[in-house]
């Protein structure tokens, strides 16, 4: 097909360049130090009594209390007895009352979810209450290709533009949502939708071939407007996949459907993030060989549909053992954004090492979104996105007490409005802005 195989979801160099225009909005200016906490940096061993220093929305120091100087003039928060870890990364969510493709066609790459997200929705506040700071908001799985996803930083903003990762040209960073298996089949209703799995794959191949040819025409035009093909918004998005600047997030459950994804990805030279992968434990080695990573939704019992009958809490453990990168997602509203840490904990119950579980809600997810240079661990230079916990991240008794994004507190359990979001109650799901900094802002 003329496109090179890429073994990383997104080439870091490409993204660094794309994101270089990013200026944190309403960035924090006051230097702040968080001392005496148990710090889980994720990209290094836990620090029993550590200090985290943030400035300008970035982490400027992190380390043992004995080895980390608190700058003079910094505000100091003593977090003795508390745990600090990176803000959680949710690789698959439907918060913000998001919508995507409209079932008029099975493949709709021109549809952008950024045009259809209400960032004031209570679900967005609930994500902050769960410690989520970065989230991939996606359209649903009822299409082979339901549209362009958007990666959000859950800043205390009221517009999608304030929450997105801006790119050059007024665009925002996001992926492409695809699906196979039963959700995108319509066997009973003749029309543009596929009735079989083979037809599903054929339709996807056809579209990717078109995109390849479109890309070649654009390249051949070499900037000559007269030679450029008529602009096609859908093909443009797929070309970004072919060029490695847009990651495919592929909903897939059954073992054979997973292999179909890997086959298509190999043909067109992209490396997908596989989502759900209920039967991933059956094909862990094949996934590993393809260099794909997996984002798992943890549900409390098997079934719900035929292709999820063999879902297992042990999938994460099997995949991790096969050296497949594993992240956890909420798939909110399938699971609750306030309980993402629980998903990681249940995977530990079924055999996943604890460090892999913590990585699965932070750094592994960041890598799957191509954002590991910005988020996912507590290290100098990264965004000051972190959560303050009352204890062990994997304990049922632990509460998310505070959530910070780029040095600003966006959730505080001690704030009554935030507490309402965290536990529910009268008015908790009214779609309005509820976050910790409201009063400070006004």
């Amino acid at each position: 097909m003329g496109s090179r195989r890429r073994h990383r979801p997104v080439r870091s160099a490409v993204l660094v360049a794309l994101l270089s225009a990013v200026v944190p909005s309403a960035g924090q200016t006051q230097t702040a130090a968080f001392i005496n906490a148990r710090i889980i940096p994720v990209d290094g061993p836990p620090i029993e009594r550590g200090t985290l220093v943030v400035q300008g929305g970035k982490i400027v120091a992190v380390g043992a209390a004995t080895a980390t100087t608190v700058p003079s003039g910094a505000t100091v928060a003593d977090l003795a007895g508390h745990t600090v870890m990176p803000g959680l990364v949710d690789t698959h969510s439907h918060i913000g009352a998001v919508s995507g493709g409209d079932s008029s066609a099975p493949i709709q790459p021109d549809v952008r979810v950024l045009d259809a997200i209400d960032v004031r929705a209570s679900s967005v506040s609930r994500a902050r209450a769960g410690g989520i700071t970065t989230v991939n908001v996606m359209p649903g799985s009822g299409h082979l290709l339901s549209g362009q996803t958007i990666y959000l930083k859950l800043r205390a903003g009221t517009t999608i533009e304030e929450l997105g990762f801006p790119l050059a040209g007024g665009r925002f960073l996001g992926g492409l949502k695809m699906a196979n298996g039963t959700n995108s089949l319509r066997p009973a209703a003749p029309g543009p939708f596929p009735g079989t799995r083979a037809k599903s794959a054929a339709l996807v191949r056809e579209q990717f071939v078109k995109a390849t040819e479109y890309r070649d025409k654009v390249r051949a035009a070499a900037g000559d407007a007269a030679k450029l093909p008529t602009r096609d918004l859908g093909l443009e998005a797929i070309v970004e996949v072919l060029e490695g600047s847009r990651i495919v997030h592929f909903h897939t459950h059954r073992h054979d459907d997973i292999l179909t994804v890997l086959r298509l990805a190999k043909e067109f030279g992209f490396t997908p993030v596989l989502h759900h992968v209920s039967e991933g434990w059956k094909v862990a080695n094949e996934i590993a060989r393809a260099g794909a990573s997996c984002s798992l939704t943890v549900v409390d019992s098997p079934g719900g549909k035929l292709e999820a009958m063999d879902v297992s809490l042990g999938t994460a453990a099997v995949l991790a053992k096969a050296n497949v990168p594993v992240a956890f997602n909420t798939d909110d509203y399938i699971t609750d954004s306030r309980l993402l840490l629980r998903s990681a904990a249940l995977a530990v119950r079924a055999g996943l090492p604890r460090d892999k579980a913590i990585e699965g809600v932070t750094l592994a997810g960041a890598r799957m979104l191509g954002l590991a240079m910005r988020v996912g661990s507590l290290s100098v230079g990264k965004d000051a996105d972190f959560v303050v916990l009352s204890g062990d991240p994997l304990s049922v008794y632990t509460r998310v007490e505070q959530t910070w994004v780029e040095g600003r507190k966006v959730f505080d359990l001690a704030n009554p409005a935030d507490h309402l979001v965290a536990v529910g109650g009268y008015g908790a799901t009214r779609d309005e802005v509820l976050h910790s900094d409201d009063e400070e802002d006004r």
């Binding site: 035929l306 809490l313 042990g314 399938i334 994997l394 304990s395 529910g424 008015g427």
Partner: protein
């Protein structure tokens, strides 16, 4: 890893079914660092001895409770009574979620109290095994929410190949739904909350009249009517009406109807119960509370993870349920729902009670299950740590003295 690999697969399934079927109750003893009897005390280094009759013979400290020779001993960190799920549709709503295994709701007419749970319970559904392997040994299951009166419920053990081996109370309650969830499809009745109550009141009147005539002279008795016969058991206070309701108007409507007809009711779901505590308490009505992790949307939009603790403080009897989900998870696990309640205001003991003895009392089966004491059924869940911790495992489950699960879950 493989020992903990909890695939709901054929192999495990067959193994468990083999264990469940055919085997007589073994003589089993459970020894644990802590035995939560739910009968007033927890015993350090305790022992539960279950005799060949499947009943608990003795519970006490290991030092003074010797295990008789020849008993199979299961060891763990913590032992609790087998857990009781106060309200589920498992066995009627199957794991596949295909039309042929979704038997929890019939919508051809608004009120069908004659539908029996025993005629629809599939003891071999994978979800029954899922619950069993996670320590749930008793379920109150049956017809689901979704119709004004959807049918009957039953109480069963999570063992047995067929319903007859599982059931302990064939007709436990009659399930009703108020609010939007109980309304019929567009253009059909009931289409509003008020109409639903009007229909319900009229039907209860008919049932009362039917019961009175049936009790009268033989020559004046009406023909047998299964529909009214079932409902008459509600008006006769033989079985409670299980009313699924979430919003305040629906909770109050339920109390109003109960008061008018002098019937026993149990409130189910009850998202906004925290707004009408005094009225619920004054009516002496127990609550089967929505799962702690239930989705907050539409009718349940105002639910709170702290309601269990609010009910506890108000002195209202309650239990925690797995409830009903139309998609996933096809069943919740009350162990985990109670766990989160323990992290949102209840004490650990209170949360455990909500899925053991308090649930058993609410369901009227506390003479048999819900606590570990001599004479009760030999139903025990054994854990390798704090039962509520996500990372603990259920390492053994015993029902009526049968070891039904030993694969760590």
């Amino acid at each position: 890893m493989s020992a903990r690999f909890s695939r709901v697969g054929l192999v495990v399934c067959l193994l468990l079914l083999t264990l469940v079927s055919g085997s007589a109750a073994a003589q089993v003893a459970i020894q644990a660092d802590i035995v939560h009897t739910m009968n007033g005390s927890s015993i350090k280094d305790g022992v539960v001895i279950i005799g060949a009759d499947g009943h608990i013979a003795k519970v006490g400290p290991a030092s003074s409770t010797p295990v008789p020779p020849g008993y199979r001993v299961i060891r763990g960190a913590v032992a609790t009574p087998g857990l009781v799920d106060a309200r589920t549709v498992v066995g009627l709503a199957g794991a596949l979620n295909q039309p042929h295994d979704q038997m929890q709701l019939e919508t051809s007419t608004a009120m069908q109290p004659e539908l029996r749970a025993v005629d629809a319970y599939n003891a071999r559904d994978p979800l029954v095994e899922w619950l069993r392997s996670h320590g749930i040994t008793t379920i109150h299951t049956g017809h689901g929410p979704g119709a004004l009166i959807s049918g009957q419920t039953m109480i069963a053990k999570t063992r047995g190949d067929e319903v007859d081996e599982a059931v302990i109370v064939p007709e436990a309650m009659i399930a009703a739904t108020l609010g939007e969830g109980g309304l019929a499809a567009q253009g059909k009745s009931p289409g509003t909350r008020a109409k639903a109550i009007a229909l319900l009141r009229a039907e209860l009147l008919k049932a009362k009249d039917y019961a009175a005539k049936q009790a009268g002279p033989a020559d004046k008795r009406p023909s047998r009517d299964l529909h009214l016969e079932a409902l008459a058991r509600v008006t006769n206070r033989e079985v409670p009406l299980l009313v699924t309701a979430h919003r305040v108007p629906d909770l109050l409507a339920a109390l109003r109807v109960a008061s008018e007809f002098g019937i026993k009711i149990v409130l189910d779901g009850a998202s906004e119960s925290y707004l009408v505590l005094e009225k619920i308490k004054a009516a002496n009505v127990p609550v089967i509370l929505h799962p702690t992790m239930a989705r907050a949307a539409e009718e349940t939009g105002n639910l709170s993870m702290e309601t269990a603790s609010v009910l506890k403080k108000a002195g209202i009897p309650f239990a925690i349920e797995s409830g009903y989900e139309s998609y996933v998870p096809k069943t919740r696990v009350v162990l985990w729902e109670a766990a989160l309640a323990a992290a949102r205001g209840l004490t650990q003991d209170q949360a455990l009670a909500a899925v053991t003895i308090d649930a058993a009392r609410l369901l009227g089966v506390d003479k048999r299950v819900g606590s570990l004491e001599a004479g009760k059924d030999g139903d025990v869940a054994i854990f390798d740590g704090d039962p509520f911790e996500y990372t603990s495992h259920v390492v053994g489950v015993v029902i009526d003295g049968h070891i039904v699960s030993e694969t760590p879950q």
